[in-house]
Every structure is written in C-alpha cells, then in structure tokens.
C-alpha cells in the first residue's frame, strides 16, 4: 500500500495535468465524487453531519484490524469530490498515521483558490473530524 505522501503526490500530479483551467478542475473534482462508496441510509442522521456553510457532509468511521475505515457523503457534488480525495489519502490507515498526516496536497494544488473560502473552511472541518475519529480510535487501542 502506498504511503500518505505517495498518494498525495499522485493527486498533485493528476491536478497538474489540468493546469490553470478552473472549469475543468471543478468538473474533475465533481467526477471524483462518483468514486465514493454508497453511504448507508441509516447513518444519514444529524449527529453524523459536519456542517459547512451551504453544503452538508455526513461522515462516519469504523475500525478494522487496527485501521480506520471512513465513509462519507454530501448533498453537493463538488464537496463529494473533495471528500473522495480525503478518503483516498486517509482511509484504511492506522490512527497515528492519520493524526500526524500533513495534508500538503491541498495547498500544492491550490485548492483554496479553486473552491473558494466557504468550501475551504468546510474542507478544514472535514479533516479535523477525520483526525478526531483517528484520535478516538487510538485512545481506544491504547486503553
């Protein structure tokens, strides 16, 4: 399995192909949302929502053989694409890897200017929540 750094480098090179064209970049991000596994309807509840300003995100996490498994969904396609990137980088990893992950791909691909400030805040909230889940599982493992 590739490391977090390797996966991030892959993503950066994929986005480099798109160049500066914002329109194709956004379409690409939306397409990435299609990679998300279907989200279980029973988990689509208030307590699993990470609230952004205009879009909703549902995120749940589980632990399998010491590794954290994420599942997520959103009511907007662009946000779905962003989550799918985070899941590609952080899913199925040990809690300590997730907690210490330096997600520099977001800055490297200039995500801030692509998605704007509202969604950037939402993205930061998603990362925080994923790390919090990892922290909770780590605490449980160490207990």
């Amino acid at each position: 399995m590739s490391t977090i750094k390797e996966v991030q480098d892959e993503i950066v090179s994929e986005f480099e192909i798109l160049g500066d064209d914002k329109e194709s970049t956004i379409f690409y991000i939306m397409e990435l949302g299609g990679n998300l596994k279907p989200f279980p309807e029973s988990e689509r509840k208030e307590e699993n929502i990470i609230k952004g300003c205009q879009s909703k995100v549902w995120l749940i996490a589980d632990e399998k053989e010491g590794k954290v498994q994420f599942q997520a969904d959103s009511n907007t396609d662009i946000t779905k694409g962003l989550i799918s990137l985070l899941i590609r980088v952080l899913d199925n990893r040990r809690p300590d890897e997730i907690i210490h992950a330096d997600l520099n791909f977001i800055q490297k691909i200039g995500m801030g200017s692509i998605i704007g400030s509202q969604r950037s805040n939402g993205l930061a909230a998603m990362i925080k929540q994923m790390k919090l889940y990892a922290l909770a599982f780590q605490t449980k493992q160490n207990a």
Partner: protein, 407 residues
C-alpha cells in the same frame, strides 16, 4: 445622459476585468451593485479637499462638508419624492433603518396583544427585528402567505388585518424572487384600519420609480450600496408627524438640543436620529450615484432590465432541468432558479469558473425557501450595465451545467 450601454459600462471600472481567465459577468447586483467612477471620484475628492466633521464647525472645510452632506439629503428627498429633507435619516443600511423603527416606533407604540404583519417573502432583516420586538412586548407577528408564483395572497392578507394591527412591514420587491408586491394597495388597506406601513425598499429603489407621497407609506428603508452608491450607508424615510412622535434611537452627540446631568432635550428631526459623527464621505458620494440614476431615468433603466429578464427567461425556459423559482407577473430583474439534480452551491461555483458571478443559497430568506420546500436557489440579478450577450453566456453556461444531470 442617453442610454448608451457601452458608455454606461465605461463608467464602471470594476466590470472590465477577467476572473479565472474569463471576462467578468457580474450578475450579483441584488447583493450589491458596482459603483460608477463619479462615486469613486466623489469619495476621493472629499478626503482630498473637504474632510471635516460636519455641523457646528467654525471653519471653511466644515462648512463645505456640511453643505455637501445636506445636499445629498435633499437629493434623496427628491429621489423618493418626500415632502421635506428633514424626513430623510441616514443610517448604516436597510437593516439598521428597520431596526431603528422597531426600537423606537415599535417600543413606543406596539404593546401586548398588538399585531405586526409581514409577508412570507421577507428578508431576515424584516423578520428578526419584529420577532425581537414581539418577544419583548408580547405582541403578535402574523405572516401573509404566498402562492406558487411567489405572490402574496390578497384575501389572506385582508383576513390578517384587524383593528389590533399596528404595523405592516413588507418588502417592496423580493430579493430572492424579484416579486413586486402591490404595496400601494397594501398601504391603503392597512391605513383603513389605522395601521402604519413600513416598506423595505432595498431591492426596489434601484429599479422602480418611488414616490413616497403617492404610495403614502409611513416609512421607507433602503441601502445606498444596492443603488450604485457606497456600502455602509442607508436611508430611513419617515413621515414628519410619525418621526416626531418617535423617541430617539441612539444617544450621543448631534442628536441633542441641550444636555444637563438632570435632563437632555433632543434635537429636531432628522438629527434626533443621527447620533454621533455620521458616514460623511459615503453620504456625500451617494449623491453622485443618485445623479447617475436620475440622469438615465428609472423608466429607461427598468425598460433595459426588463428586456434582459425577458431574454433570460426565454433562453433558460428551454433548458432541460431548469426550474425557475418565483414567477410572479410583476418582477424586478431577478432570476432565481434551480437545476434538477444539482445543489445551487455547485451550480454557482461552476458558473464562477466561467467568469459569471451569481449568488447561491437561501438569500437570507429561510422561511421563504422552506415555503418552496427547497434549500436555496441560484440567483442571477441584472443591473443597468448588463448586456444581452452576457445573458446569452449565462444561458449557455446553465445549459452546459444542466446537461450533466439532465440528459
């Protein structure tokens, strides 16, 4: 000034730029309009030549600043057809104007069991101040329902009006739908039962001719920045006899006649409601915005904007998956819509990538969105400097985006 679109566009420096490598198409005019060069020049000249605190200054600069400030008040009076300049109060914006009425007129004249009527399509700024007042006073807030097109239901409105109705506060033109409400009839019906009427003119004053005497409204609130003027400035018009009965809003300098530690007597209107150093520069520059609108005439501005809206409706109605929100027969140039299967935020961001600036979300009208059972809309709102070819680019963009989910 004749209606020459190239010439008009030449007056707005901000329009001539690229965003994301595409020429900017600015369709977020209901949020704020762009400012003509004359407004920018007036701001700069004020600070370069006249900057001084107004009223009571014993020097030439204070005299000039005072004169220009009061000239804008007179220009606003003329703009809305008020009887006298003293009925024009400068505020921070529509929101503050409405809050001023709630906190002064409302606190003095509205009590337990009294009723305030608003409509379903109000902006939060014409809902929350009344909720706060009702909570404090034990008054009752009633809401006029609307039909699917986004028009108030007249018969229901008549049923809500009672002798206990103290105030009807209604939007002249809806920011989220564009609906123009039949405010003259509303005012007449409310007055027949002794209720006062406040018009939220934030969205109407840039599009429609306003004559407060003909309308006979008791209050009119609007903002300069939606009217080609500076941000942070608004107007509250009130009839002299009503304003005089109202207690002051903020206490401080300017609003007093005489202060002793025992008792303070208050200044005359409008100064009674303008405590502290006002937004002098923006007030002065606002006159240039009003002059710009008056030189073109609202009749010509509206004819142009109506043509843009009609063109947009025609092009968009053929797009598969296009869902208009707000189809009232009388509208200002606001096109609110959704695309089947897509979130408005995504649509807005995709249009932004094409250089087209629109607004998405609930437009500070959550109860209205709830009425339509939607989370929000995409809103394109047109102003005097927009062109038919920009509308065509919007329609092309929307068609392309809609195809993603509507094949």
């Amino acid at each position: 000034m004749s209606f020459n679109l190239d010439q008009i566009r030449g007056l707005f420096p901000v329009l001539h730029q690229e965003v994301h490598g595409k020429p900017l198409i600015y369709f977020d005019n209901a949020a704020t309009t762009q400012k003509p060069k004359a407004v920018l020049k007036a701001l700069q000249e004020y600070y370069e030549k006249d900057n001084s605190n107004i009223h009571r200054g014993a020097h030439a600069l204070a005299d000039r600043a005072t004169r220009y400030y009061e000239e804008t008040r007179e220009a606003v009076r003329d703009f809305i057809g008020a009887r006298e300049a003293a009925e024009i109060i400068f505020t921070k914006g529509t929101t503050e104007s409405i809050n001023l009425v709630a906190q002064t007129f409302g606190r003095k004249f509205i009590g337990k069991g009294d009723e305030i009527i608003i409509s379903t399509m109000e902006h939060h700024s014409n809902i929350v101040p009344w909720q706060m007042l009702c909570e404090e006073k034990g008054a009752i807030l009633k809401v006029i329902p609307i039909n699917e097109a986004g028009e108030i239901l007249w018969k229901e409105f008549e049923k809500l009006l009672t002798p206990n109705t103290k105030l009807v506060s209604i939007v002249h033109a809806s920011n989220a739908l564009g609906t123009i409400n039949p405010v003259k009839e509303v005012i007449e019906a409310a007055h027949a039962l002794g209720a006062k009427v406040l018009l939220d003119g934030a969205q109407s004053t840039s599009h429609l001719d306003i004559d407060v005497l003909d309308l006979n409204c008791d209050f009119l609130a609007f903002s300069a920045h939606k009217l080609y003027g500076p941000t942070g400035l608004g107007v509250l018009y009130g009839k002299r006899e009503v304003l005089e009965e109202m207690p002051p809003f903020l206490g401080g300098g300017e609003m007093i006649k005489e202060v002793t530690f025992e008792k303070t007597t208050y200044n005359e209107i409008p100064f009674k409601f303008e405590a502290g150093t006002p937004n002098i520069a923006d007030v002065i520059a606002f006159k240039a915005a009003l002059d710009f609108v008056q030189s073109l005439t609202k009749t010509k501005i509206r004819a142009h904007e109506d043509a843009l809206l009609a063109h947009a409706n025609e092009l968009m109605s053929g797009i598969k998956g296009f869902i208009p929100v707000g189809t009232a027969s009388e509208k200002v140039s606001v096109l609110s819509f959704n695309i089947n299967g897509m979130h408005p935020f995504d649509v807005g961001q995709m249009l932004d990538a094409k250089g087209i600036a629109v607004r998405t979300g609930h437009h500070c009208t959550q109860p209205l969105m709830k009425r339509f059972g939607i989370e929000g809309t995409v809103r394109a709102s047109f102003a005097v400097y927009n062109t038919k070819s920009e509308i065509e680019k919007l329609a092309e963009g929307v068609a392309q985006i809609a195809r993603l989910k509507n094949k």
